[in-house]
């Protein structure tokens, strides 16, 4: 089987599985909306104060959604043995993992970006910033999903790995959220946000290229031992 068709099979498999478990896709989004509910309850419903924090808040909600969505990305395959087969395949695992990350991004980060205008309306984000919000989430969610997947690969065989995943991954999210929320904030203040979007794109590209190496190493540690 050629590399391209193997990656395509991987992509198809993961997307099919995700399509069959719609709640797995929906849950992180629902969590995101719940968080969006909690903040006005905590901060007060005044449009002025919510609009002030909306850029950062929307990015934090997107970040948490992506984090929760990548929580068990390798768990099931690890426990039923398919991960061992994937790692044993003649195709380099690097690209197969990349295909899986692509599938999961389509089901998490991409959908979060699509849904973000709704959240933005709930949190009174100025309409000038909507486009940049969508774009920044589109560009930044790739790195969120990739870095989250590194954490998932490291905690694949750990009980209650979810909290540990958050502890590991959130410090690594710091640069992404800094530039992501800066982009939206700049747009909300009618300033140019191209530079921030460019940096987000750069970080995502770096993540896409480097993360499968770390994930393969982490998965081999767990699979070779089990």
């Amino acid at each position: 089987m050629s590399l391209a068709s193997a990656c395509w099979q991987m992509l198809r498999r993961d997307l099919t599985l995700l399509a069959r478990r719609k709640m797995d896709v929906l849950n992180p989004l629902l969590f995101g909306f719940l968080v969006a509910l909690l903040f006005p309850l905590g901060l007060g419903p005044a449009p002025a104060s919510l609009a002030l924090v909306a850029p950062g808040l929307l990015w934090i909600i997107a970040l948490l959604s992506c984090l929760w969505a990548t929580d068990g990305v390798f768990d099931e395959d690890f426990h039923d043995g398919s991960l061992a087969l994937i790692l044993l395949s003649p195709q380099p695992a690097y690209f197969l993992i990349m295909a899986r990350l692509m599938a999961h991004w389509l089901a998490s980060g991409f959908i979060v970006a699509l849904v973000s205008p709704v959240l933005a309306l709930m949190l009174y984000l100025p309409s000038e910033a909507m486009g940049v919000l969508f774009l920044s989430l589109l560009l930044g969610s790739a790195s969120l999903v990739c870095i989250g997947a590194v954490g998932a690969a490291l905690t694949v065989n750990v009980r209650n790995g979810g909290v540990l995943l958050s502890l590991i991954v959130l410090p690594l999210y710091v640069p992404v959220i800094i530039f992501g929320s800066a982009a939206v904030q700049a747009a909300a203040q009618l300033q140019d946000s191209t530079a921030y979007l460019a940096i987000l794109a750069a970080m995502s590209l770096l993540a896409i290229v480097l993360v499968p190496l770390a994930i393969t190493a982490a998965l081999r540690i767990n699979v070779d031992a089990a």
């Binding site: 710091v174 800094i178 540690i221």
Partner: protein, 243 residues
């Protein structure tokens, strides 16, 4: 000469070498720290603006240096362990993580204690403090991950990967936090400005930094020796030692 370094990779030789080095390093680091502490607390001149409260930098700055140096020590040990599977590298990785975390915590706490009388705030989200806090969480992630695996060697390998991922990220995190701070705070009060420090204040600080580095080496050695004894407890040389 290279043989010396090769020897350090074996637990038994490390134990022997550290047995002979430890007294010297311990005495030297204690001497430097005590000298620098007394000099800094009692004899260094009072600061023009801050009075006596600046003296906490004699603990704050060395621990901050070591927090960062300790992370790289841990990451390099992790890389060596992943590539060459050296036992001592695994032990150093395991042992350096909590020590580094404590150093980072110390830096944060002493920074807060320094901040309150000097600038009126226990905590400020400026670039360096925020980066130091992120570093603390990176350390705690490594500690937590290493401890969460049932098999210790797997946990060490996973922790090594995490330490390396963190190493790639640290410059990115530092730069982005730096930039973030400059974006949000047109710096009216420069906490991070570097005033030219008087030599009479600088010398005790330098001595303290060297003393702290030696203290770090002593701590690593002590913890590594304890780890060695625990791991190799069934071997004959340990049992001979125990008699």
């Amino acid at each position: 000469m290279w043989q010396f370094f090769h020897k350090l990779g074996s637990p038994r030789w490390f134990y022997q070498i550290s047995s002979s080095l430890l007294p010297w390093l311990g005495v030297l680091s204690a001497a430097l720290i005590i000298t620098a502490t007394v000099w800094g607390l009692a004899f260094a001149p009072m600061d023009f603006k801050q009075g006596n409260s600046f003296r906490i930098i004699y603990i704050h700055v060395p621990s901050a240096f070591l927090a960062l140096a300790g992370y790289y020590t841990m990451a390099i040990a992790g890389a060596v362990y992943l590539i060459w599977r050296m036992k001592m590298a695994e032990i150093v990785l395991r042992v350096a993580a909590p020590i580094g975390a404590v150093m980072t915590f110390l830096a944060l706490i002493t920074g807060a204690i320094w901040g309150k009388p000097t600038w009126g705030a226990w905590w400020v989200w400026d670039a360096r403090i925020t980066s130091m806090l992120v570093l603390f969480f990176l350390y705690m992630g490594v500690v937590a991950l290493a401890g969460s695996y049932q098999r210790a060697d797997l946990g060490s390998k996973a922790a090594a990967i995490l330490a390396l991922v963190g190493t790639v990220n640290i410059p990115i995190i530092y730069k982005s936090v730096d930039w973030w701070y400059s974006l949000h705070q047109p710096a009216t009060i420069k906490f991070t400005s570097k005033p030219s420090i008087h030599p009479d204040m600088l010398w005790p600080l330098l001595l303290m930094i060297v003393g702290f580095y030696l203290l770090y080496a002593v701590l690593i050695m002590l913890h590594a020796r304890a780890e060695i004894v625990q791991r190799e407890q069934r071997t004959r040389w340990i049992q001979e030692l125990a008699k």
